[in-house]
Amino acid sequence: MEAETTTEAAIDRAALFEFLLRMGDNTLMLGHRVSEWCGHAPALEEDIALANTALDLIGQTQLWLGLAGEVEDKGRSADDLAYLRDVYEFRNLLLTERPNGDFGKTLMRQFLFDAWHYLRLQTLLSSTDRRIAEIAEKASKEVSYHLERSRDLVIRLGDGTAESHARMQQALDDLWPYTGEMFMTEAADTALSAAGVAPEPQSLKAEWDELVAETLSEATLRKPTDGYMHGGGRRGMHSEHLGFVLAEMQFLQRAYPGATW
């Protein structure tokens, strides 16, 4: 039996639903992207590592979207939310829908996300919503391994051969304009913060900057200057890539509604 939480009365149900979609859509989208590597990675161990990372992310998606469905209270399951929403209803960061590119770019995207993800989950451990704190505790154990691995590989490839260094620098330069969105304030963020559910995105920036700067320096990579930053994913304004992801991810449930096996 789910115990009633103290915040449900204090916070707008719609704001909470929005927050849970943002968490769950990030892990769903990145989990899907990373799973595209299955069978294609440069080495067997890396293939397995990528598949395991994707699996963790999909598992976390079930927790976040499962709770989102409960909070929304319209009878939608995690599967319904994943397979039966259209592009404009997704709330993931644009970074997570960026195409994989080469192995280095996939890892750079993973590192930039993992650093944020880990810090975000840490702040949620003390959420006033017990259900959110519980998912954060579970997920942060897994994400700490993701961060350790992606950070290690960014350093090894950045401080590797001339070619791996050049590719990692290119990946960083390409992805950097998508990092600012992690710290942008969108609708509901202020209310969520005031209710103690989740601190505002901006509050994570100093620690993320520090962690990323330290890693890039060890990787002998040049941190790009903060220029124009893309945003909008967290309010449903996505790049053209998301539609293609959904076309593949949702095909089966769209073509054969309710199919199970």
Partner: protein, 174 residues
Amino acid sequence: MPTATRPSVEEIWRWLADVPDPEIPVISVTDLRIIRNVAWDGDTLVVTVTPTYSGCPATAMINLDIESMLHRRGIEKVRLERQLAPAWTTEWITSEAREKLRTFGIAPPVDGTAPNDRLHRRIESLSGNSHPTVQCPRCGSTRTEKISQFGSTPCKASYRCSDCLEPFDYFKCI
């Protein structure tokens, strides 16, 4: 089933001790300590299970195995509940189970080396990547190296022994 004839909770715990982990069959669900509670709710048996990893595909299989074992034992109404907190940790794995893992060829977890604990203490200490001293389950050597942080299942990492040269799985800490 009527209260008078229903098996005791202690008896059910003993039955559960025989339900193997589907991916590591030498250890049981009680060895892993993923069964958090067993209780009767009227004529329904409620078994509370916590997941090891949130996306572990074995979770569904474990639930199915528990349910079918209980049905076989004559319990008609079974309800499985998922409990997330406290989050499962490898530190709960019993010492007997650790020996069984070692004998099976899987190095048991080295407690206290989960990255989460270190990251939690200080994010800058990240550069101190986790390198627990893992003993080769085959020859006992501690001259071993990590090949990949992720192995054949979410809960394991791939290692290699520098002495007997055998690759092996390490049950990593979370």
